[in-house]
């Protein structure tokens, strides 16, 4: 039973002369500690968890929220501690962050940049959140990241896979743990070459928006580099539900591989259509026809049922990973909620821990100090092996999982099997290739 009654404003109230009026410009108000927005009081600190609660990604959002709640529990020293024990940095002691009890507020992004910003602004302006995290799409991540930069608080991105988040739209106050399109392409290509050969002709169906573009680009570049040919790339509307008219021409196009640059509901529907049109069973150019899904979401792949079996893709994390961190997290999540966590839950949990850890190591909630502590921070034990938070673009570099839909699942959550763990070195790229400027850290003055 957590109490939420002390917010920034609650803390402020104590200092204000009762009955008297006190007008302060914002920047003075924040000056309890060191001149940054929403400096927390002495007893508690408020984090903002902004996840989709309505709309098509609501279930993914709900899973993120569970992870956040779990992280808060662990930070406050409740529960079994989860990954705190496996985390390589030992700064966190289960007594909140810098001795302050962690409290949180939640909001609904609706998977719309506008709504997400409104919700994040209310967390910052009304609830005094010092950090905002969460989200389930790149559009939302980019929008909220820019807001946090402007307001002068830290943004710890949730599930966002587009190159843009830490590429052309990167911001000094924003950090991403999740992997991106480029890494998916780089990790997938060698596995695909091993399994399907280097003489393949690929047909891309791409969701017609920013994430689709960067994913198509990444997969094309890396597969073409090893000898594949791209026959065609067709853009599909984001709102499409029946993909028959896009899938039907594929078989006669001369292609022998179909790449579905789709996520979530789009992926479920296009994959279902592709299987219905017999692509799985078909032969082309004397080879078995293959389908590839660059980014898997286990949670939503369930909607495609049997159709995912044997299909390659990549994922940020999977609960069946055997390392100590993953096992600890899966155990504590599974015990509390009765089912294993998704990759979205994992990244949100890890981001919360990383933030708390950075604050503790920096000894301050000042976003600039926190950013400094996160930049070029190397850690281990959070489920993805040795990981680097690169300072130049605030992107994490870690191993990438190449997975395949499991043929004979043991239970209803056992949809994906891990084919290969691509080492971080193989997916690392030069920070400058996507353009964009990080700018300077903004403490909110």
């Amino acid at each position: 039973m957590s109490k939420l009654n002390i917010t920034r404003r609650g803390a402020l109230k104590a200092g204000a002369a009762a009955g008297g009026a006190l007008a302060l410009p914002t920047y003075l108000r924040a000056d309890g500690h060191a001149g940054f927005t929403n400096a927390p009081g002495d007893s508690s600190v408020t984090l903002g968890f902004n996840v989709p609660q309505t709309g098509p990604y609501a279930d993914e959002g709900a899973d993120e929220l569970r992870a956040f709640e779990l992280a808060v529990e662990h930070l406050n020293g409740e529960g079994d501690g989860g990954m705190l024990s496996t985390f390589s940095s030992k700064a966190l002691d289960g007594a909140g962050i810098l001795g302050r009890k962690v409290e949180y507020v939640t909001g609904d992004t609706q998977t719309k940049p506008d709504a997400a910003r409104a919700s994040a602004r209310s967390m910052i302006e009304k609830d005094g959140a010092i950090m905002v995290s969460g989200g389930s799409s790149s559009g939302v991540a980019v929008a909220v990241q820019a807001l946090c930069q402007e307001a002068g608080i830290i943004f710890m991105a949730g599930l966002t896979h587009s190159n843009d988040t830490t590429g052309k739209d990167k911001k000094a106050n924003g950090f991403r743990h999740f992997f991106n399109s480029y890494m998916s392409g780089a990790a997938l290509a060698p596995i695909l070459a091993n399994n399907y050969g280097t003489d393949r002709k690929a047909y891309h169906l791409t969701a017609d928006y920013n994430w689709g573009y960067t994913t198509e680009e990444a997969v094309r570049t890396s597969t073409e580099a090893m000898g594949w040919e791209t026959v065609a790339a067709v853009k599909t509307p984001l709102a499409q539900t029946d993909f028959s008219s896009y899938v039907a021409p594929v078989l006669n196009s001369g292609a022998d591989v179909l790449v579905l640059n789709h996520y979530g509901g789009n992926m479920v529907n296009s994959l279902t259509s592709a299987v219905q049109f017999g692509l799985r069973a078909a032969e082309a150019n004397g080879k078995n026809f293959e389908i590839i899904v660059p980014l898997y979401s286990r949670l939503m792949a369930k909607g495609a049922g049997e159709n995912v079996k044997g299909i390659f893709g990549s994922t940020n994390w999977h609960w069946s990973l055997p390392d100590a961190g993953s096992m600890a997290f899966t155990r504590s999540f599974g015990t509390k909620y009765g089912f294993p966590p998704s990759q979205a839950a994992h990244t949100c949990y890890v981001q919360t821990l990383l933030y708390a850890d950075a604050v503790t190591r920096a000894g301050s909630f000042n976003p600039c100090a926190v950013a400094e502590a996160l930049e070029d921070f190397e850690f281990d034990g959070l489920g993805n092996g040795k990981t680097l938070y690169r300072g130049e673009d605030h992107q994490c570099f870690k191993d990438v999982l190449v997975v395949k839909g499991k043929e004979n699942p043991d239970n209803e959550f056992d949809l994906l099997e891990i084919v290969e763990v691509t080492p971080a070195a193989q997916v690392t790229y030069d920070a400058s290739i996507f353009g964009g400027e990080l700018g300077t850290c903004n403490p909110g003055a």
Binding site: P56, D59, T241, D242, P249, F277, K302
Partner: protein, 343 residues
């Protein structure tokens, strides 16, 4: 050539769904003069009748299987449907496999009941109210219905596959004397098309050849006069609403293997179905069906690679573009009559 035939097939298939939803919407528009924003929700409820039935059929007891483990490493609890106990494993599995076709029988009474309840309980009181009020109340109802579904079934899509017998594709090319494999089309989509045709024919026959239908058609043409004849038009409208709900529901039931249902699918179809109805001509049932197929085929052609390369983005807007052109050149839609809903 094969591409064109393929896209015509796709168009007929998409068109079937549009036509079925628009048909029900037009029945309500035309007979009752009600702008029903909850019609998409009825389609969605139909689809969830299937989900519910397969859940009911799949009601299970737990059996501990010591040889396998769950994700936490504990012995796995395996669900064994009760239906296996009653009918034996193979017959039980076959019944579960046929959940979607069985849902047709399951959904008809449910959807009619929902439709009648909606009309009696809510819509009835809005016949004389402005269209604006009807929009607000039915939109509110649609939100409530879909949120209830979301509460019980979650937001993600739920697979509801067709029976194994219908998995796979029909070699259309070979059947019409082209190269084998040139045009293959999934069985279930062919089934959907024929199902839609039968349903549409049934509705038309019902309106054409029964006294009930005659009165309703007269009511669509001139509600006041029919009312003056002393015919209890209210009761007939209630039944009409039930039929419209059943048509939408059946469209949803049969659609589940094509696109796995989620709580939001009704809203996805809502706008498009209104466009179909208006393009077809307000109050014209043949118009709604025709417009459904025309727009379905147009949408399919616009999504061909060759077309998109020539006109980027055309696949996003083709339906709306077609609607604008048709409404500007044929003021009352394809088959509409003068004076219906023009104010």
């Amino acid at each position: 050539m094969d591409q064109i035939i393929l896209q015509i097939l796709n168009g007929l298939d998409k068109g079937s769904a549009y036509a079925l939803i628009a048909l029900g919407l037009t029945l309500i528009f035309g007979t009752l003069g009600v702008v029903n924003f909850a019609h998409g929700a009825l389609f969605m409820l139909g689809a969830f009748c299937t989900v519910t039935l397969s859940r009911i059929l799949g009601l299970s007891k737990e059996v501990i299987d010591e040889t396998r483990t769950d994700f936490l490493g504990n012995p796995l609890k395996v669900d064994v449907p009760y239906i296996y106990d009653w009918f034996g494993e193979s017959a039980g599995a076959a019944i579960i496999d046929w959940a979607v076709p069985l849902s047709i029988l399951f959904s008809i009474p449910i959807m009619i009941a929902i439709g009648v309840a909606m009309e009696r309980g809510l819509i009835k009181h809005f016949y004389k109210r402005p269209h604006a009020d009807q929009i607000l109340v039915t939109f509110g109802l649609a939100i409530v219905l879909q949120e209830i579904i979301k509460y019980y079934f979650g937001a993600n899509q739920i697979p509801a596959p067709a029976p194994d017998a219908f998995i796979g594709s029909f070699d259309f090319g070979a059947a019409i004397g082209m190269d084998p494999g040139a045009i293959i089309y999934p069985y279930w989509r062919i089934v959907y098309f024929f199902f839609a045709m039968i349903l549409i024919a049934a509705v038309f026959a019902f309106l054409q050849f029964t006294t009930f239908g005659m009165v309703v058609r007269a009511g669509m043409a001139d509600r006041e006069t029919v009312g003056l004849l002393g015919i209890n038009i209210d009761r007939r409208f209630t039944i009409m609403f039930g039929i419209a709900a059943a048509v939408a529901g059946l469209a949803g039931v049969m659609y589940t293997p094509i696109v796995s249902p989620n709580y939001h699918m009704g809203m996805d179809f809502l706008v498009i179905s209104f466009v179909v109805v208006v393009v077809g001509g307000m109050g014209s049932l043949p118009g709604a069906v025709l417009a459904g197929f025309v727009l379905g085929i147009l949408e399919s052609f616009a999504s061909m690679r060759e077309v998109i390369e020539f006109l980027p983005g055309i696949n996003q807007v083709v339906i709306y573009l077609a609607a604008i052109i048709i409404l500007l050149t044929r003021p009352r839609g394809l088959l509409g009559r003068k004076g219906v809903m023009e104010d």
